[in-house]
């Protein structure tokens, strides 16, 4: 039996809500899967689909995008714009054959440390079940450039 597959997941989070939520999870000593690398951004509105593609290009097995609940955006409506963008981008990825389970979107507020820990655990388990993103990694191998995450 081969070793348990440990997925590499990149999380793009907004600094005001989800990052603070992650902080809360940490200070509350909640345990969650160590597979996620968090990248903090000012707002979900700043999270360009380019980021998601770049994460995949560098060998991520899954990408998590998370920010403030609707109505809570520090910049009033950054997350509303992001929501539309994700809707379209998600269906584009789906149409291209990238399972929607690999690119996950969520709202997590600064108070939701527990939700953050749970979500990370669920997402990690889901992607573990899906297995490594071999089809994409095959493309990366062809380029002969390294995928270093």
């Amino acid at each position: 039996m081969s070793e348990l597959f440990e997925p590499k997941i990149i999380a793009f989070v907004c600094t005001y809500c989800t990052y603070a939520g992650a902080d809360l999870a940490g200070t509350s000593r909640l345990k969650y899967a160590p597979n996620v690398r968090i990248i903090r951004l000012p707002c979900t509105g700043r999270i360009s689909p380019m980021f998601i593609l770049k994460a995949l290009q560098k060998g991520a097995d899954g990408v998590l995008v998370s920010g403030c609940h609707p109505g809570d955006c520090h910049f009033t409506h950054g997350n509303y714009h992001a929501r539309r963008r994700w809707m379209v981008f998600r269906s584009l990825l789906d149409f291209m054959g990238i399972q929607p389970e690999r690119v996950i979107f969520s709202w997590i507020s600064a108070a939701e440390g527990g939700k953050f820990a749970d979500l990370i655990n669920t997402v990690t388990e889901d992607i573990r079940k899906l297995g490594p993103f071999d089809q994409y990694k095959e493309l990366i191998r062809e380029t002969e450039a390294p995928a270093t995450l």
């Binding site: 380029t143 002969e144 450039a145 390294p146 270093t148």
Partner: protein, 337 residues
């Protein structure tokens, strides 16, 4: 009586060549396009088409290829240069224009610094050309002083037989002779007549055009603006052209390891010549189209004594706005020199 290769022996040829260590490549139609690609069986060849959509250039000068790999550890940089995979290959069913395209680019890749990638592949490839019996509205080899049975760049020329059941074999080079000695047992002496060659009308008088292009006064002619007004500046004419050879060098990787690649590039792109300062020597599409024409029919021959166009017509055939070398030179040939 001449030596002939009959179509029904082609499968045996492919088998023999493959067992003699050649990989066999030929015109293949796959999905919605056609190109020169590796085959395992003669049945995979599509020898009926006028010309594959993609030119033979990519077998010698791929659209992207590694130049070197690098790894960086602390204070040491290690690089490993890429060498193209070695291996003899036979490219069967090449069109004379594509073969000529290769010989046109030889001096460019060979002057001063010798491009090993190009020449290694050239030396390991046997070009088996089939003379054309079919042409379409876009073919213009005759206008370039070439012909449907030109031998430039070919190692073997095959002339189709009248009954469309085989070809007369004309060995042109030692490399070709060697490749065909592997299938000597399959060749037969026969006296069947060859099929008439394709009729390719001459679209313009090349000498008139060249004279016009060489006149420095015409460099700033209004003609260039008018002709290129509808050019949208995509690179498809240059990318499908068997002789266009511009490239770009790009790094992919990070601070620890990665690869340096050589990619096709095109003089049609605005960024091709853009300086760091923002100054662009060829800042308009008309300047870029002028460069392409001038380069092919004035500058390149000035340097290497051969026009950088083999008359395949791909530039016009696939142009999204129906431009191309034919139209431009046709119009030039009607202007006063």
């Amino acid at each position: 009586m001449t030596r002939c290769l009959f179509s029904n022996k082609l499968e045996n040829c492919v088998t023999l060549w493959r067992s003699a260590g050649y990989s066999v490549i030929g015109p293949v139609r796959k999905d919605a396009t056609s190109s020169y690609a590796a085959v395992e069986h003669a049945a995979d060849f599509d020898l009926g088409m006028v010309l594959p959509d993609r030119s033979i250039k990519e077998l010698f000068f791929p659209q992207t290829e590694p130049m070197l790999h690098y790894t960086i550890k602390q204070q040491a940089i290690n690089t490993e240069e890429f060498t193209p995979p070695a291996g003899k290959r036979i490219i069967f069913g090449v069109r004379p224009c594509d073969a000529s395209g290769l010989s046109i680019d030889d001096p460019l890749f060979g002057w001063d610094y010798k491009d090993e990638y190009w020449f290694q592949r050239r030396n390991e490839s046997v070009i088996v050309t089939i003379a054309c019996t079919k042409a379409d509205d876009f073919c213009l080899c005759t206008s370039l002083k070439l012909a449907p049975d030109s031998t430039n760049g070919s190692d073997i020329l095959l002339r189709p037989l009248e009954n469309n059941n085989g070809w007369q074999v004309e060995e042109l080079t030692e490399r070709g002779r060697e490749a065909f000695s592997a299938i000597a047992e399959l060749l037969q002496e026969a006296s069947e007549p060859t099929a008439p060659l394709a009729v390719v009308p001459e679209m313009f008088n090349l000498d008139t055009c060249v004279a016009w292009l060489q006149n420095p006064e015409n460099f700033e002619s209004k003609f260039w603006k008018d002709i290129s007004m509808r050019c949208i500046g995509c690179g498809s004419c240059t990318y499908l052209c068997p002789t266009c050879h511009c490239f770009d060098i790009q790094d992919e990787g990070d601070t620890y390891s990665g690869i340096r690649r050589k990619n096709w590039d095109s003089c049609s792109f605005a960024l091709f010549t853009m300086h760091t300062s923002g100054h662009n020597p060829r800042s308009t599409q008309s300047a870029r189209w002028r460069q392409r024409i001038m380069h092919k029919f004035n500058y390149f021959p000035g340097k290497f004594s051969v026009n950088s166009c083999s008359g395949c017509g791909r530039c016009t055939r696939q142009c999204p706005v129906d431009m191309g070398i034919t139209e431009t030179l046709q119009k030039i040939s009607t202007l006063h020199p």
